[in-house]
Symmetry: C2
DNA sequence: CAGATTATGTCAAGCGCTTATCATAAAAAA
DNA sequence: TTTTTTATGATAAGCGCTTGACATAATCTG
């Protein structure tokens, strides 16, 4: 482990001088600065960030708490966030909290113990206060944690509405909402509300068919099969793309033709799904913008924790991607 | 920030005693141990891991360097690894290196500066020596870095072979390998070798049609379109599932029926692809086992850096998932 | 009850780095 | 040349925690 004193020795100056170069304060001549930099390079010196942190310097670590990167949407989101963070000089500590309260709690403790500079919260198994109690700068994705924690989210309501309207425009009149029916501030709730409102405007009857997120594949398939076989349905707004894909597949098995017999639209629009299932219409969340804004807000909080923001709620515009499945 | 001294005060004992219960050494009565634990709980105390690390204690941080979690395969792999690490008390620092040499290098520096206990290397833009030079415990996924760095990988050769044989069994005689053609130790190379060997055994002619990983979607599509339109082909071994999906889609566009006109098989078998594209035959990598083994080996290295392993190369068995696309 | 064992405390050094203070030296400005 | 300004060094304290050395109680054993 090469350390500060080694650099000083190599550069032929005092540790104070080296520290001055690194932290850029006090008087330093160009000549010594160069000498020091050369010594650092030659020795391949990296200031021990652990020791620096102990002085109260920033750790440049951010805790990312999300459900699961094996889900393509979260995978892409986390990927973009990590990239943004990197650009701003931060390292990412990743937690896949799944729907595991205990794991999320433990991680919260862990990242605190590691003196992270802030947290981006995207999994929401825990209550507000557990996050609040960390005393750390936090920004939230897709769910309101508290008044003073900024929340970034796609315009889910608008998305639900757009999706419903799109199916209607292509002739669907028995339009179901299929997906997570929970009403507890989960992001899909707003999608549902957008659906409901539009259904009302269109003077149609609302139909909600629950397919729970955390269920096994088989149970989800059963629920969908039940819907397709036993209900009069000619349009489906799926709460997310994966559910939509399931519907696509099962329809095919049952000989239901999409979009002739059934019009379908998903939600999320991750790149993977867009690129590799080109038949599926969907509401696209602006993942790169979400990532950018989350990081920007978090950094603002970190640099100035007390400053009030002029806005704590950000709804980023979604986009309707029209493809075959909705009737195009 | 509640600190050790606060706990000591609360528990009515000395810092030494508190430290003794935390680090579990020396003599401690059950009574005091309990008192201390209660004090810690009441104050919601977490030992400052930064300060501990400075004493040379483990940081319990692991650097994960992979191409990109927005790819479903890596998403799932990283997810499983993170879970394993968590079970073993480690936190995960995530780096999506993409194919960016500079970013990978910078991350390597960063994680060193953060005193990580070890690295799991899955992106391979850099040379051996840059990893070697870290002096950290390392395990590698899918590529040989050096003699003394354990490498875990699926049995890609066997996979390539199985895939080819499967297409043959269903009647294909003009079997192409489509994907990354590089020959530099990239994991797909072994898949290609498995294909080649089997083609030879079957007394067929080998055909390799390059579709480069990092190209844009449009260019990949062009390459595939060219293949399907201008070549006599009735079977395709794709180097990975995403390429296979592309082929599936383009075939459909061109009115080529799979599996009647063309038999197709992919590679990777991430859960997302398996669950949501049930038509696709593929060679399934045992992601959970890979994750488990990587973590197990890394921990072994961390706990005993000098101990020689009895094996530095691990090929985990792949599984042929037979579905419609290959002719079932 | 003496001696061993167990339990706790006090004190101080140190992990690698930052930073303030004070002192001194070299260069630039007057 | 004298005064400022700029550049560097020596020294020490401290971030929060660990750990060893040493001392002193309290408890247990035979």
């Amino acid at each position: 482990m090469v350390k500060l004193t080694d650099v000083a020795a190599k550069a032929g100056c005092s540790v104070t001088t080296v520290s001055r170069v690194i932290n850029n304060y006090g008087y330093i001549s160009q000549k010594t600065r160069k000498k020091v930099h050369e010594a650092m390079k030659e020795l391949n010196y990296q200031p021990n960030s652990v020791a620096r942190s102990l002085q109260g310097k920033k750790t440049k670590l951010i805790g990312l708490i999300f459900p699961d990167v094996s889900n393509p949407f979260f995978g892409e989101l986390v990927s973009k966030i990590e990239n943004q963070l990197f650009k701003h000089g931060y390292k990412t500590i990743l937690c896949n909290a799944g729907n595991d309260k205990e794991k999320e709690r433990t991680y919260l403790q862990m990242v605190m113990a590691n003196q992270v500079d802030g947290i981006i919260a995207g999994a929401h198994n825990l209550g507000i206060d557990e996050y609040q109690r960390t005393g750390l700068p936090i920004v939230s994705f897709d769910r309101k944690l508290s008044e003073n924690i900024p929340i970034v989210s796609a315009d889910n309501f608008k998305g639900g509405s757009l999706a419903t309207q799109e199916l209607y425009n292509h002739g669907a009149r028995h339009i179901y909402f299929v997906g997570n029916p929970t009403l507890d501030g989960h992001p899909t709730q707003k999608r549902l509300l957008g659906y409901k409102e539009t259904i009302k405007e269109l003077k149609l009857t609302e139909h909600i068919h629950p397919v729970i997120f955390n269920e096994t594949l088989a149970l989800k398939e059963m629920a969908i099969r039940d819907l397709l076989e036993n209900h009069k349905v000619d349009g489906i707004v799926a709460s997310d793309d994966l559910t939509a894909l399931l519907i696509l597949n099962i329809s095919h098995d049952l000989g239901i033709h999409i979009p002739k017999d059934l019009k379908l639209i998903g939600f999320d629009g991750s790149k993977v799904v867009r690129d590799f299932e080109p038949r599926l219409s969907t509401i696209v969340q602006p993942i790169p913008s979400i990532a950018q804004l989350l990081v920007k807000l978090l950094e603002k909080r970190i640099d100035n924790p007390t400053e009030e923001l002029d806005n704590y709620t950000y709804y980023l515009p979604v986009e309707l991607l029209k493809r075959e499945s909705s009737g195009n």
